[in-house]
């Protein structure tokens, strides 16, 4: 296959070679067409001898050669999206023409897999978000800044913990057990974005993406359809996010200093009953259950002692966090060498006390032209992210403040010792410390060799190296040691290498003037290994390991030595995860006269993740575009400046499953029994040699347009994605005795079908006054088309949402709550037939909603008057449901569950005749007929509309005028004030409507966003920044 293609390529080249010699005529003008923006050569520009029909097109590097009659004195140069230029050629044999873009968005360079294209040549669905838009607000992790900026891309902001990751879904979700996260490619390396490298420790998923420095990023391209992601084969189904770091630009050394300071708090919090209220409510619940006397109280309290306290735990645990970010960058470029360097230091405190994310980061990217046809590029970045962790949700801390830290509990007993007869999150935060330190180095070296004109051979080698330390320190008080110097220090390190090498051959050619070809052939290999120790490293220490690394090393080395010298010697480390990919791919782009474009891609992926019976997969895609505005019949329509239709179809895969799942998991036991060795088949470790990728068939069709002198630009897109061979881990019968097994579920199919619309309108576009508005909205329709398992076969991590044929993925399957019986305050439910009943039963469950929104999007306005600017971004979600799982327990707060009682539940039944939203309170919820237990008290009582509108960003800026800058001898100076999440409009009573909870596994992440369990609300920030260029 490869050989055959290469031969085709060479024969085509020969053809071209010959063709080039067949035009010798009277007078030859040679020249080059460049883009005024960056000086790069422009291919496909039309060069016509004025007054004749003689014309040629510029080649890939922008050069052209035209033979004209000696009478011709002027050439007309034109191309889509650029102002047409006329140049005089009298007495000249060479010309250089620099075209000025009229519609810059059509000419912007878009990064595609293994190459770039100009926007107007793109045949796939790609959204681009540039650096300035990405860095407008401080975010815990760069991906959160994409919110509302690209149609069809759902971003659910991370929760309020520093460094937390957002949930990113591109055009819906078609996976269950396999991760639904897109593939992240940084400067050509598919990086590890797995949120579960640390499981769900401390009720937080450690987000690897937070260790990418947003200040390093030049652009983020979001590849959405098979036309765009087909080149990524078995990893393209969830979309691909390509991150390109900044590189040196031509010109003298230029420096840029950015600094911002600000504050962080929470966007929206929950409020709880105080001690007096709580005690009254407890007594009310006690009496409702028919109990007599004073209710019993937890923590050893009586009504008399409890009522003396009123602790505001939320207040004790939160702060106004200080944000401080600084970065200094340098760019330089000449004919030989281009350099970009950046240094960043930032320390962003969260609103939870002692929670912060500190970043120290450096980058050096260089491009060096060794000879005219050999370029070497270095890409290197190092980032140290230090996350001062706090416990959350079920693990305590701020989670306790919303649950079991009751208002009459206190931090200290009257004698000054810590209160320990119940939750005491302040003690937890003061006496235990946790810090996750992630060091990420990404380096790449690439060689671009041009042996002959228009043939590019690129070889890239890249390495991503990560070391991560999860450090925990428990004080002597916490572990009950009298010696003040003996707290307990623990460190859980892992280290991983991600090696990637690819080789591509790229050949550009034009056949008979109008037929342009771009061939790409490539091969790629990737190897990822992440290792850790086989033993816990911990010891009694006076200080945490991050404060004294030599103590850590001493302890570690001793433990290693103990194992190595033991009898028998024991291993010290092992690969926690290891996988490889080996791939071949090809792409052919063909275009005719800038009107018609066709792209074929194909990739063969082999991976160690797949079972021996399915080692390789083949993924083809085809896409095409018709730039109608190049046709004469459209050219006549004045108000249409640009009109393009595009469509694609392809098969892509999802290989986002843990490594080694195809393989059996038998292990010798660590113990003997009765003196004899043991051997086990680990539960969930049966293996499956047939395991393979998920298969997705993806159709995309779109119209791109620019109207009314390009004031109105936009795109309407339709897509239809059908996923089969669904990767499933649960859903096996527990009586099989081996537990869960990763497998491709037969007869399963999930549909994502949707429409996206994005529009931008320049209302005013004058030198002194500019005002533009824009926005996007998308609708995704999701349906499980084929499914054979029962409704509870798949749940999120905690019994939350379900998968059912004919319904969207992740439906809420709940008993319907009808209301309160005014006579006795008991809840009235609806059974499956909609008949009222006062007996609760799990058999009454119906499909009551979905976590998926109906519509989502964002809209923005950008206003500039002289040197002032004002920009806003709103994002919104319409439809979908939130399941308030912790609200369920908060409603039962005054029951024997002993939780905080949320104020929103005050509207409850207290006496016959009351008409209320919530039923009567109970000390024991199983006194409600049929309720089997607290955990099963799930109903639509706690299901809420997830719609919201949020003022995501608001920026006021001032830019110094050119004259002032000249006086000051600096290039740019800008001051700005930015707020994020300033306003939120929602009907959801549980606080923040954006919920990225702590997830147990990728399946939970796929199916249970919008299911909250004591999730810390998102951050609100206000920052002041200075941007100085010199």
């Amino acid at each position: 296959m490869l050989m055959k293609n290469l031969f085709k390529l060479t024969s085509l080249m020969l053809l071209v070679f010959v063709a080039q010699f067949s035009f010798a005529q009277n007078r030859v003008i040679t020249g080059k067409v460049t883009d005024s923006k960056d000086g790069s050569g422009m291919s496909g520009a039309t060069i016509v001898a004025k007054g004749t029909r003689t014309g040629v097109q510029s080649k890939a590097d922008g050069t052209f050669s035209i033979s004209i009659s000696s009478t011709v004195s002027t050439l007309v140069i034109s191309t889509v999206g650029y102002a047409t230029m006329e140049v005089s050629v009298t007495g000249m044999s060479t010309v250089e023409v620099s075209l000025v873009g009229t519609n810059t968005s059509l000419n912007e360079v878009v990064v595609i897999g293994y190459g770039t294209q100009r926007r107007r040549e793109v045949t796939g669905a790609i959204s681009k978000v540039s650096s300035d838009k990405l860095n407008s607000i401080p975010v815990p992790s760069f991906e959160a800044a994409l919110q509302g900026k690209a149609p069809g891309v759902q971003i659910i902001q991370g929760n309020g913990l520093a460094g937390s990751g957002a949930v990113v879904r591109i055009r819906g979700i078609g996976s269950i057990s396999a991760s639904g996260d897109p593939l992240y490619v940084v400067d050509g390396i598919p990086i590890v974005s797995d949120q579960f490298l640390r499981g769900n420790g401390g009720a937080m998923n450690q987000n690897p993406l937070s260790s990418l420095n947003p200040a390093d990023i030049e652009s983020v391209e979001i590849l959405k359809d098979a036309g765009a992601t087909g080149i990524y084969g078995s990893r393209g189904a969830n979309g691909v996010i390509i991150i390109t770091t900044k590189r040196g630009k031509s010109g003298k050394p230029q420096f840029n200093f950015n600094t911002r300071v600000g504050i962080a708090t929470y966007a929206k919090r929950q409020k709880f009953a105080n001690t007096t209220e709580w005690l009254q409510l407890r007594q009310e619940a006690w009496a409702n259950d028919g109990r007599v006397g004073l209710a019993n109280l937890p923590g050893g309290y009586t009504f008399a002692t409890a009522s003396q306290n009123n602790t505001d735990w939320w207040d004790l645990l939160t702060q106004t966090g200080i944000i401080n970010e600084n970065n200094l960058s340098m760019t330089q470029g000449n004919a030989k060498l281009k350099t970009f360097a950046n240094l960043t230091y930032s320390n962003n405190e969260g609103y939870i006390k002692s929670n912060s994310y500190q970043r120290i980061s450096g980058r050096l990217n260089m491009d060096y032209n060794v000879t005219k046809n050999l370029k070497i590029s270095l890409t290197s970045g190092i980032n140290k992210g230090s996350n001062r962790r706090v416990p959350a949700a079920w693990d305590g801390g701020i989670g306790d403040a919303m649950s079991s830290a009751l208002p009459f509990f206190t931090v200290y007993n009257p004698n000054g010792t810590y209160f320990q007869n119940g939750a005491n999150p302040v003690r937890r935060i003061q006496e235990t410390k946790r810090r996750e330190i992630d060091n990420r180095f990404i380096g790449g070296l690439s060689f671009e060799y041009q042996p002959i004109k228009n043939l590019f051979i690129r070889a890239n080698g890249s390495l991503e190296y990560v070391t991560a330390f999860d450090d925990i320190y428990e004080s002597n008080q916490w572990i009950n040691q009298s010696n003040p110097d003996s707290g307990y220090a623990k460190r859980f390190p892992y280290w991983g290498t991600n090696k990637n090498a690819n080789l591509t051959v790229n050949y550009l050619t034009t056949v008979k003037e109008n037929h342009k070809f771009n061939f790409l052939l490539g091969t790629e290999a990737q190897e990822y290994i992440r290792k850790g120790y086989l033993f816990e490293i911990g010891n009694f220490e006076p200080v945490p390991y991050w404060e004294n690394a030599s103590r850590y090393r001493t302890r570690r080395d001793k433990l290693i030595k103990d194992r190595q010298t033991g009898t028998p010697p024991q291993l010290t480390e092992k690969a926690l995860e290891e996988y490889t990919f080996n791939s071949f791919f090809g792409r052919v782009n063909y275009s005719y006269k800038d009107r018609y474009a066709l792209q074929l891609t194909a990739r063969v992926d082999g991976s160690s993740k797949f079972g021996p019976n399915n080692k390789h997969g083949f993924f083809p895609a085809i896409s095409g575009a018709w730039t109608m505005s190049e046709e004469d019949f459209i050219k006549d329509i004045k108000f249409i400046n640009f009109l393009k239709l595009r469509a694609s179809y392809g098969i892509v895969g999802n290989a986002n499953i843990p490594a080694g799942k195809y393989y059996g998991n038998y292990q010798p036991g660590g113990i003997t029994y009765s003196g004899n060795p043991t051997l086990y088949l680990n539960y969930d470790g049966y293996g499956n040699p047939d395991l393979k990728w998920e298969t997705m068939h993806n159709i995309d069709a779109a119209v791109e347009f620019a109207l009314f002198s390009s004031k109105l630009t936009g795109e309407v897109a339709y897509y239809n994605k059908q996923t089969t061979d669904i990767l499933m881990e649960p859903g096996t019968a527990p009586s099989n005795g081996v537990g869960k097994v990763y497998r491709n579920l037969p007869n399963s199919k999930i549909l994502n079908e949707g429409i996206e619309l994005s529009l931008n309108y320049k209302i005013i576009n004058k030198a002194a006054l500019k005002w533009s508005v824009g926005g996007n909205i998308s609708k995704n329709y999701n349906e499980v088309l084929d499914w054979e398992l029962g409704p509870d076969a798949v749940s999120g991590g905690t019994n939350d949402t379900r998968v059912v044929k004919g319904l969207p993925l992740g439906v809420n399957y709940l008993v319907r709550y009808y209301g309160v019986d005014p006579a006795d305050g008991l809840p009235i439910w609806l059974d499956v037939n909609g008949k009222q009943t006062k007996t609760f039963s799990l058999d009454h469950r119906v499909f009551a909603g979905s976590i998926m929104p109906d519509y989502m999007g964002g809209f923005n306005s950008s206003f500039e008057y002289k040197n002032f600017e004002l920009s806003t971004l709103f994002n919104f979600v319409i439809g979908g449901k939130i399941y308030d799982n912790s609200g369920k327990y908060q409603f039962m707060g005054v029951s024997k569950k002993n939780w905080n009682f949320r104020e929103t539940f005050f509207d409850r039944w207290t006496k016959p005749g009351d008409v209320t939203r919530y039923p009567r309170l109970a000390y024991d919820i199983t006194t409600f007929p049929g309720v089997p237990g607290e955990d099963q008290f799930n109903s639509t009582l706690f299901l809420h509309d997830a719609s919201f509108l949020r003022l995501r960003e608001l920026t006021v800026g001032y830019r110094l005028s050119a004259q002032t800058l000249k006086k000051l001898k600096i290039k740019t100076l800008r001051f700005y004030l930015t707020g994020s999440n300033l306003l939120t409009f929602t009907k959801y009573p549980g606080g923040d409507p954006e919920i990225t909870r702590d997830f147990e596994n990728p399946q939970d992440r796929n199916l249970s966003p919008n299911v909250t369990y004591l999730t810390a609300p998102t951050q609100r920030t206000v920052i002041f920044g200075i941007n100085l260029g010199f």
């Binding site: 059996g664 527990p734 005795g737």
Partner: protein
């Protein structure tokens, strides 16, 4: 052009060399063995079978969960401090969600599947083949037996026992399967035990009963037949165990849960201190232990009074209402470590006593001697002993009473309520449920039905 071709050639070679590197794509997870690597020699099969003992001693089975589930369904404990799954099961209203029950169910089937894997790889075995096959069949029978008792109405619920039991697994496979009838399940259990009885060793190499012998198979047969109210066979199997003279009644009732002091264990999971500490009974201590704090399980005053009614009863030491003020607690498991007998001689004596009384004739005298032996030890003398002329009914009554007291906290009571109910329709439950009410058994994990939508679940609740 020449240079171009040579470049192309190099490229092609490089590209093709990566594809042919098959090993590059071969990355079995470190530290894991596939089935073919795991089972290579007889020693591997032995090690695998050996591991199953520790599964029985898992917290989610005989080290606590099995007893907890039975005691929750029973009538000895106060319910108001139970929450979540415990509360649900206590209320005899187990619903199809609940990790406490699910984990138990999974572990029982894991034991069965592991036993089936041993049988699958028996061709590797030579000198230990019979022992391995016997162990596998004993394990499979033990797990099926506990499952059918917990998840199905008891033997005798329907006249021909055609009511639904549990899925029978005798091979390894992922396919969901339907429930068999209770009769089919018991038939399978008895077939396995009878086979194990002939295959298993007579004595272990160490002389300890920490691994399976034919006596373990016989003792389980006695337990199974007794649960079926098949007294003749129960008597016979119990008699064979007792007359083997391999096991002796402990001098003290208190030795049963101890470190090496008991001689009653017919199959015992031993506590091990070296080379690596391995301690069965963790969740028994976790749920019942009462010297370190208030345990989850506390007795009702009603049962506490019954259990401590006789002043002479030395077993009163198993109860306290002062250790944790205001709570009636069990002290049986107030130890850091103990060996865990899965079946012991006291129970076999009690089986022979009741079965002997039920079958009558010459067996009655054996029965009287057995129950008197248990009572003499319990009451520190013969004051409560039955006379040699005691009626069968008196022996049965005394035996049932002693069984309840001897086996307190061992997960015995619920199955007795059902067995006695099935025997002649008598309801002895102190919480006044009918022995065959729907909620007196556990519900199946919902996952079983979700994997197999035609799976028939139990009917829930309805006991009160």
């Amino acid at each position: 052009m020449k240079r171009f071709y040579s470049n192309l050639l190099i490229l092609t070679i490089v590209a093709l060399s990566t594809v042919s590197c098959k090993k590059f794509l071969d990355r079995p997870p470190e530290g894991q063995l596939g089935e073919t690597e795991a089972f290579k020699t007889e020693a591997d099969v032995k090690a695998f079978a050996n591991g199953i003992y520790t599964l029985f001693a898992n917290n989610e089975f005989y080290s606590g969960r099995h007893q907890v589930l039975n005691e929750l369904l029973g009538d000895h404990y106060k319910g108001d401090r139970f929450t979540g799954d415990y509360s649900e099961i206590f209320k005899r209203q187990n619903s199809f969600f609940g990790g406490t029950r699910d984990a138990y169910y999974q572990l029982a089937y894991r034991i069965i599947t592991d036993a089936n894997l041993v049988i699958k790889h028996l061709d590797l075995a030579t000198i230990s083949k019979n022992q391995l096959e016997g162990e596998a069949k004993l394990f499979r029978a033990m797990a099926h037996f506990e499952l059918v008792r917990m998840f199905a109405q008891p033997w005798g619920y329907s006249a021909d026992n055609s009511h639904l039991g549990v899925p029978i697994r005798t091979t390894v496979g992922l396919e969901p399967i339907q429930r068999s009838t209770v009769k089919e399940v018991y038939d399978q259990i008895i077939t396995d035990l009878l086979s194990a009885e002939t295959l298993l060793q007579d004595v272990t190499p160490t002389g300890k009963f920490y691994t399976a012998t034919k006596w373990a198979a016989k003792a389980y047969l006695a337990r199974v037949y007794f649960q079926q109210n098949d007294f003749a066979k129960a008597f016979q199997s119990a008699n064979e165990v007792i007359t083997s003279n391999k096991f002796n009644m402990d001098a003290s009732f208190a030795s049963r849960f101890s470190l090496g002091l008991s001689t009653e264990g017919i199959l015992t999971i031993a506590n091990q201190t070296s080379p690596i500490q391995y301690s069965p009974g963790g969740d028994l201590r976790g749920n019942f232990r009462s010297d370190l704090g208030i345990p989850g399980f506390t007795f009702t005053d009603q049962f506490y009074n019954v259990a401590t009614a006789r002043a002479a009863d030395l077993r009163k030491a198993w109860y306290s209402n002062t250790l944790q003020s205001g709570y009636n607690v069990l002290t049986k498991y107030n130890k850091n470590f103990f060996d865990l007998p899965l079946i012991h001689l006291t129970e076999i004596k009690l089986i022979r006593a009741e079965a002997g009384a039920e079958t009558g004739g010459a067996n009655l005298a054996v029965a009287i001697a057995d129950i008197n032996q248990v009572m003499t030890r319990a009451y520190g003398g013969t004051s409560y002993n039955l006379p040699a002329i005691a009626t069968a009914a008196a022996v049965i009554a005394a035996t049932r009473n002693e069984r309840e007291l001897e086996l307190v906290g061992e997960g015995n009571r619920t199955q007795e309520i059902k067995r006695i109910g099935a025997r002649n329709g008598t309801n002895v439950d102190r919480r006044n449920s009918v022995w065959n009410c729907n909620g007196f058994i556990l519900q199946f994990p919902k996952a079983e039905k979700d994997a197999n939508t035609s799976f028939i679940m139990n009917i829930e609740g309805g006991c009160f």
